[in-house]
């Protein structure tokens, strides 16, 4: 066994262990902030797996999108609304947990069975390494153009939706000291993109 192969194997084992343990922790931990941080760790471990497969561009994109954007947004949302309140106990929580763990276990067994019975083409296609960036670009602008554009339209729609939600008309405080000034500046600023009526 040569050094390169054993290094790869060790890295793979460590990364897989991190991913499995981390994902379990994300679901099972009581503290939601811990879950969010561990989720970032799982995303990074997945990026490590991509690196092992010689897909460095995908790995970097994974870190940029999932760790840098998605996970930070999740953390942001949690921290801004992190109220320490007692949740009212739900009836029959134990049976619910049992049912959901049964469903999850069944799904796991199904997937394991599929992965064992499938005849995998080994060794898989050789990776193209550094050339991958160019190849991804080519594919995005030729045969995957339509899905690419559809995804961007979807994102645009989500963005417009977020703006509409965030820019609801606010009631102007009338008992303020600088009533007139306030009114002017607020009415200057807060002209909603779409008014409340047009939403209905």
């Amino acid at each position: 066994m040569n050094i390169a192969y054993s290094t790869e194997l060790i890295c793979f084992l460590i990364l897989s262990a991190v991913i499995v343990a981390g994902s379990l922790a994300v679901v099972l931990l009581e503290n939601i902030v811990y879950s969010a941080f561990i989720l970032g760790g799982v995303f990074m471990a997945v990026a490590g797996l991509y690196l092992l497969l010689n897909a460095s561009f995908v790995a970097a994109a994974q870190i940029l999108v999932y760790v840098g954007a998605v996970n930070v947004l999740i953390l942001f949302a949690i921290m801004l609304v992190n109220k320490k309140e007692k949740l009212t106990s739900i009836e029959g929580l134990k049976t619910r947990k049992l049912i959901s763990s049964g469903v999850c276990g069944g799904l796991l067994i199904l997937l394991l069975r599929v992965s064992i019975t499938t005849k995998w083409n080994l060794p898989g296609p050789t990776s193209i390494g550094e050339e991958a960036t160019e190849r991804i670009g080519e594919h995005l602008f030729t045969d995957y153009l339509l899905p690419f554009e559809l995804a961007s339209i979807l994102l645009l729609m989500a963005m417009i939706g977020a703006i509409v939600l965030a820019r609801r008309e606010v009631s102007i405080p009338t008992d303020d000291i600088n009533v007139l000034k306030n009114k002017k500046s607020l009415s200057d600023k807060k002209i909603p993109l779409l008014s409340e009526n047009s939403l209905k």
Binding site: N2, I3, A4, V33, F37, G40, M44, S56, F57, A60, A61, I63, L64, V67, G68, A69, N71, V72, L75, F76, M79, L80, G129, E130, E131, A132, T133
Partner: protein
């Protein structure tokens, strides 16, 4: 095309001559450049701290550190030693695990980014194909560390500082990436080595700053914001937030934040010099110069001189930018948080998009000068 000095080749060959296998030789080689870069990063920080003290003193008509070593050169060492032996305090109600991991998550990505900083043709740790994209991806990990330390300190100033830091670095990452994208489009490569080589065809006239003046300014502003330097140091604005996410930290954990900040500053300056100021390139083309004295470019002497000149040029350019950053820090007032976000989203983002569009059209119109 000369390949320059390849230290790795000579090292692995030397080891192999001693009777070890090629793989083992490679394995022995790997830690060496990493260690070298780590040491140079830390020395770069020490120099920057000293410069910061001296220049701020000059800006405020003081003398600055005087007694520790000649002209106070040893002052940063003394600072570091003090932080090293200070008591490490974890607040009683803080979350001790997150409190410890936070600073590490802030420092590690910054150090990892040094992977792609070239000091010469073969003088970088790894010429990875994704090059500059790796830096953008790694720098997006940092806000998680900041949020983590802000949250775990159990202090409202810390939490506000952490949230501000994350908001700031998310909003300035986008114009930064778009400015880099314009450069990448011109050099047809993400690799930092290719980006520098593409600029060193005709001395300083071919530097990217002439072709991307707007991109240069956008990149510099965003880099300052990412480093949380003074016009944009809102996350640790001492008049409002005590010290932001650093408030509860002491000893070595505080030193990690301190180190990360300064390493990031030096790194940003280095990357500005790589992306816009021709990296290791001398203002006058070396090829032309060596043909003037009548020496071949492959001459060992010329090679060594060119390599050391390259290192000196990279560091010189970077430190000129560090000087500029320090001068900015001690002469400009801080922006407000709404002004900061306005600047990022309503000004820099559209401008950088327009810059990208113009670069693309210029590339189509003049493929010779804008890298076809």
């Amino acid at each position: 095309m000369n390949s320059g000095i390849d230290l790795e080749m000579s090292f692995t060959q030397g080891i192999q001559n001693l009777g070890l296998s090629h793989e083992l030789a490679h394995l022995l080689w790997i830690p060496l450049p990493m260690l070298l870069v780590l040491v140079s990063a830390v020395i770069g920080v020490l120099v920057t701290v000293w410069l910061e003290r001296k220049i701020s003193a000059a800006a405020q008509q003081r003398i600055g550190p005087e007694y520790a070593g000649g002209l106070g050169i040893l002052q940063p060492m003394a600072d570091g030693l003090k932080l090293l032996v200070k008591e490490d305090i974890i607040p009683a109600k803080a979350d001790s695990v997150l409190f410890t991991v936070g600073p590490i998550l802030v420092l590690v990505p910054v150090i990892l980014s040094w992977l792609i900083v070239p000091f010469g043709q073969n003088l970088l740790i790894s010429n990875v194909g994704i090059g500059i994209f790796l830096w953008i991806a790694l720098s997006s990990i940092q806000p998680i560390g900041l949020l983590m330390s802000g949250y775990s300190s159990n202090n409202k100033y810390s939490l506000l500082g952490g949230l501000r830091a994350a908001a700031q670095s998310i909003s300035y990452e986008i114009p930064l990436a778009l400015a880099v994208l314009a450069i990448v489009m011109m050099s047809n490569s993400l690799s930092t080595v290719d980006i520098v080589e593409q600029q060193n065809t005709a001395g300083f006239l071919s530097w990217n700053i002439w072709r991307q003046p707007v991109g240069f300014i956008i990149f510099w502003i965003c880099a300052l914001a990412e480093c949380e330097r003074l016009p944009f140091d809102l996350p640790e604005a001492e008049e409002e937030l005590v010290a932001g996410y650093q408030t509860e930290y002491a000893g070595m954990k505080f030193a990690l934040f301190y180190l990360a900040g300064y390493i990031n500053l030096v790194l940003s300056a280095l990357l500005v010099s790589v992306l816009y100021l021709g990296g290791w390139g001398f203002p006058i083309s070396i090829d032309w110069f060596s043909s003037l004295i009548g020496l071949s470019i492959d001459n060992p002497l010329v090679q060594i001189i060119a390599a050391s000149l390259g290192i000196v040029m990279t560091i010189l350019k970077a430190y000129l930018l560090v000087f500029l950053a320090i001068l900015l820090r001690w002469t400009t007032p801080r922006v407000r948080i709404d002004q900061l976000l306005d600047l990022g989203w309503k000004f820099l983002l559209p401008i950088s998009l327009v810059n990208l569009l113009i670069t693309a059209s210029l590339k189509l119109a003049f493929p010779m000068t804008f890298g076809g």
